[in-house]
């Protein structure tokens, strides 16, 4: 479980997150949705501590994460995996080296044990033949899959994904969405995904939080989202033709 309590975050006098309180459950795919620029990335980065919040608190299960110092956070970070919007693989390292890095830094495993784990993770994301490739040699979907492999290599209990299918074609998007959703179930992870893709919402959204201009505007499940009568949410949801049709069909 991950919880934000009255989180406020400003940059140079401009408030980006305005008093957000929300809870994300374990073993389910939690989605943060909202228009581009609404503050999704800032919220996600505040949750993992890449931004320090101005006010409020972040909890990882029972631990108040936002009050911990660098060293104490480091202990929790072993349990955290994150997939960045652009993948954020280290350019100077191969796919296998990227995935292996957390093992190199934080475990005392032998080289064979580490490679075994790397192979397992790369297989899990269907990236068996890319060990020796550099990030610049990968397609968009492969980058995302390598990033997922790196995020899960330490067996995380918390998984954060910033727009995991931005820049991907619809088919690959679904593959990535399902992959994240499956992994969440398989390992009982607390997964939080940022997205503006209604496809993902209808496909894998279990809990959905709608952010509007830095406010938590609405939260609920994908069954409710089509019938809220909330103007801002409807504008967002029905900007996609697919959602429009889904609503018609349900009438």
């Amino acid at each position: 479980m991950i919880k934000a309590e009255n989180v406020i975050k400003s940059f140079e006098g401009r408030t980006v997150l305005k008093d957000i309180s929300v809870e994300f459950g374990t073993g389910q795919t939690n989605l943060i949705i909202g228009r581009s620029g609404s503050g999704k990335t800032v919220l996600l980065k505040s949750l993992v501590g890449l931004h320090d919040v101005d006010e409020g608190a972040i909890y990882y299960d029972d631990i108040c994460f936002s009050k911990l110092d660098f060293k104490a956070r480091k202990a929790i970070r072993k349990d955290v995996g994150m997939i960045f919007q652009g993948g954020a693989l280290l350019d100077a390292s191969t796919v296998a080296e990227n995935v292996k890095l957390p093992l190199d830094l934080f475990t005392e495993q032998s080289e064979e044990e580490k490679m075994e784990r790397v192979n397992l993770c790369l297989k899990r994301v269907n990236l068996d033949n890319a060990h020796k490739l550099y990030p610049s040699e990968l397609s968009g979907g492969m980058v995302k899959r390598a990033a997922i492999a790196r995020a899960i290599v330490m067996n995380p209990r918390y998984l954060f994904c910033d727009e995991p299918n931005s820049g991907l074609d619809p088919q690959t998007s679904i593959v990535i969405d399902n992959l994240i959703s499956d992994i969440t179930k398989e390992y009982n992870i607390t997964t939080i995904i940022n997205t503006h893709d209604m496809n993902s919402v209808m496909e894998i959204g279990e809990k959905i939080v709608f952010i509007y201009e830095g406010n938590k505007w609405w939260e609920g499940s994908k069954d409710d989202i089509l019938h809220t009568g909330n103007k801002e949410l409807d504008d967002f949801v029905f900007a996609s033709a697919m959602a429009k049709r889904a609503k018609m069909a349900s009438k």
């Binding site: 890449l50 202990a75 970070r77 955290v80 960045f84 954020a88 350019d91 190199d104 954060f160």
Partner: protein, 247 residues
């Protein structure tokens, strides 16, 4: 003025982070070796080329300027040596390395910043500043002094070469000049300067990259800033060190 003080504060904090205890020594050793090659070995060619040409040019200039029956010819070799050791091999080579290595470091780290690679390291629990910057500082502080010594040798060799090729002076006298009044302390002084220059080039450039934000334009600006600021700091540092070490 305020922004300079603010930057100084940010720089100091970053250096504190850089010099906090490393994660794992073995990983650091590997990265230091890698950076020695990337930042040090790969600069040998450039250093050799400029040193040999400047060595030739200085000898030619000296030969032309000091052309007088009252000045012994070996003074040309002596003057070339002094120029190469005291200023060229450390200060000028450092300025050129600031251009090559400084911009390289700033753009590499800056790109890592804007593509969230630094965030990715932080989320893993890695001290990104130490992981990325410390190996570069250690590598350059260790390697650049050798580049300075290398530059001295190549420079005076260039002078000798030009003396032989053009016949503008007697090569034997040139050699006598090289040996004339030679104190090892001059080399130590130059090497000491280079240690400081290496530290400033690397740390300032890394600082510029580490706090880059925005897009590729900003990375370009960060890398320009890295070269300009480290060059200015090298010049100031040169004066201070000369005052401290030579008087």
């Amino acid at each position: 003025m305020l922004s300079i003080i603010e930057s100084l504060g940010k720089y100091t904090l970053l250096m504190q982070k850089v010099f906090s205890r490393p994660e794992k020594m073995r990983i650091y050793r590997e990265r230091i070796m890698y950076e020695m090659e990337a930042l040090g070995l790969n600069s040998i060619g450039l250093t050799a080329i400029i040193s040999i040409f400047i060595g030739c040019a200085v000898t030619l200039q000296m030969a032309i300027t000091l052309e007088s029956p009252f000045i012994p010819q070996f003074m040309i070799g002596y003057a070339t040596r002094e120029v190469m050791i005291l200023e060229f091999s450390s200060t000028v080579v450092a300025l050129i390395l600031a251009g090559k290595v400084g911009s390289n470091i700033a753009s590499e780290i800056g790109t890592m910043r804007i593509t969230e690679q630094i965030d990715a390291l932080e989320v893993m629990g890695v001290n990104s500043a130490s992981y990325l910057i410390l190996p570069k500082i250690v590598a350059t502080v260790f390697f650049f002094p050798f580049l300075a010594i290398f530059s001295m040798l190549i420079g005076v060799a260039g002078g000798y070469g030009i003396a032989v090729m053009t016949g503008i002076m007697n090569p034997m006298e040139y050699i006598d000049g090289l040996k004339y009044c030679f104190y090892l302390s001059e080399v130590t002084y130059a090497v000491t300067k280079m240690v400081f220059f290496a530290f400033f080039i690397t740390s300032i450039s890394a600082y510029c990259g580490y706090y880059a934000k925005g897009n590729s334009l900003e990375v370009g600006k960060a890398s320009t800033k890295a070269v300009v600021v480290s060059s200015v700091v090298i010049m100031i540092c040169n004066l201070i060190l000369t005052q401290l070490l030579r008087t």
